[in-house]
């Protein structure tokens, strides 16, 4: 295996060891590539729907990140998840797409653009969470506050916020599965 010039392996390894900053950087690094894949396949659906699919893929990467073996290259792993989820997400939206089996061969990385699209689905799903979970997700996502501060604001321990957040993300994945169809 040739070395990974993009450093995704180091970032993901650090992330899986608990480094939240490395993890954020990893997600930020892969997002334009994943967006490129999604747009190349589903441009006709419109930018907002593509962003929905992208977020679905990111959520899947997040919930399955422990399936990456630290001695394996990141790209084939990431591509396999992306392929599975993109096909699945488009099928749920009544579209059949084929992704080649190879790696991210000629993907054009796509930036969100100057005015990042507001994806609609995720907001809808967050609305279906119980009130407290929705509040945690919104506080961290929209206000950009950390877990500790969220805990203080909601009179919860940091650990309780973490557990609630993790549950909320798993629930979001299930909700999306159920409601997009």
């Amino acid at each position: 295996m040739t070395g990974q010039t993009d450093g995704w392996g180091q970032l993901l390894a650090a992330a899986n060891a608990g480094d939240a900053r490395a993890y954020a950087r990893f997600l930020q690094a892969i997002t334009p590539i994943l967006r490129g894949v999604v747009r190349a396949k589903g441009g006709g659906l419109g930018a907002a729907a593509c962003e929905d699919v992208l977020q679905e893929v990111l959520l899947a990467v997040h919930l399955k990140r422990h399936t990456w073996a630290p001695d394996a290259p990141v790209r084939p792993w990431l591509y396999a998840i992306t392929r599975y989820k993109v096909v699945d997400a488009f099928r749920a939206r009544g579209r059949k797409v084929d992704l080649p089996i190879e790696d991210f061969a000629d993907v054009l990385a796509a930036d969100a653009g100057p005015d990042p699209t507001e994806a609609a689905d995720m907001e809808k799903m967050i609305g279906m969470l119980d009130g407290r979970s929705a509040e945690i997700v919104r506080k961290i996502g929209l206000e950009g506050v950390g877990v500790a501060e969220t805990g203080r604001a909601l009179a919860m321990s940091e650990g309780a916020v973490r557990v609630a957040l993790h549950r909320a993300l798993k629930t979001l994945a299930v909700l999306r599965e159920r409601h997009v169809k």
Binding site: N16, G18, A20, R21, Y23, A24, L27, Q28, T31, R35, E51, L54, Q55, L58, L59, A60, H62, L63, K64, R65, H66, T67, W68, A69, A72, P76, W77, Y79, A80, I81, R83, Y84, I101, A112, P116, T117, E118, A119, M122, E123, I126, V137, I140, G141, L142, G144, G146, V147, R162, V163, L165, H166, L169
Partner: protein
């Protein structure tokens, strides 16, 4: 919610689920212990267990079924990974199957023609076809639990090897009770039971293992 906001949320969630390997050990080992205990309690081990363990043709049952279990478990762990469907090589299963069929052929040749039918059907083949699938429920379920923690992109294949793994181990346990030592009997009926469980697992897998 914008994608950048989502990334912020994801990065704040450091809870990492157990790796599939850990789930495997935590699930499979106890479930095998439980079915071994159940066989001992309800059916009882064969009275000549110690002697049978020194009889090659009898030990071969446990070795074959156990090897199938181990080989299939390895394959299931590969298939539990998203990129595993492109990497998995199923030929080790063919080696195990070939060994079993070779044994069957050997037994066919060495068993006198008039004794073959009796040797093949024994008196207990229906019992064996019922009990092995029952004993397989727990181990196959724990294999499915492993696969659900993973992220398989080849659910039917993953379900099939999960079925082979669980029912292979279950059959090895069942062999502690069963006194049929002729390969004409055990390759046929153990084999059919294992195949049945595995095909059923492959059938339900796409629904169960979807993520």
């Amino acid at each position: 919610m914008k994608t950048d906001d989502l990334i912020r949320v994801l990065a704040e969630d450091p809870v990492r689920p157990m790796a599939p390997r850990t789930v495997l050990v935590l699930g499979l080992v106890p479930s095998l212990a439980i079915i071994a205990f159940a066989v001992w309690l309800v059916l009882g081990f064969r009275p000549d267990l110690a002697i049978s363990m020194t009889t090659p043709v009898s030990v071969a049952r446990i070795l074959l079924a156990g090897t199938l279990g181990l080989v299939a478990t390895r394959l299931a762990l590969t298939l539990a990974r998203p990129e595993g469907s492109g990497k998995v090589r199923l030929w080790p299963l063919a080696v195990v199957a070939a060994a079993a069929l070779g044994l069957l052929l050997w037994a066919y040749v060495t068993t006198p023609a008039e004794a073959r039918q009796m040797a093949m059907f024994g008196k207990t083949f229906v019992f064996c076809l019922v009990v092995i699938p029952l004993l397989s429920i727990l181990p196959v379920s724990s294999m499915f639990a492993v696969l659900r923690r993973g992220a398989t992109t080849a659910p039917a294949r993953a379900g099939f090897v999960a079925g082979l793994a669980g029912s292979g181990f279950a059959t090895a346990v069942y062999a502690l009770y069963c006194t049929q030592d002729n390969p004409l009997f055990y390759v046929t009926w153990f084999g059919l039971a294992i195949l049945g469980v595995s095909l059923f697992s492959a059938m339900i897998a796409p629904r169960v293992l979807h993520w």
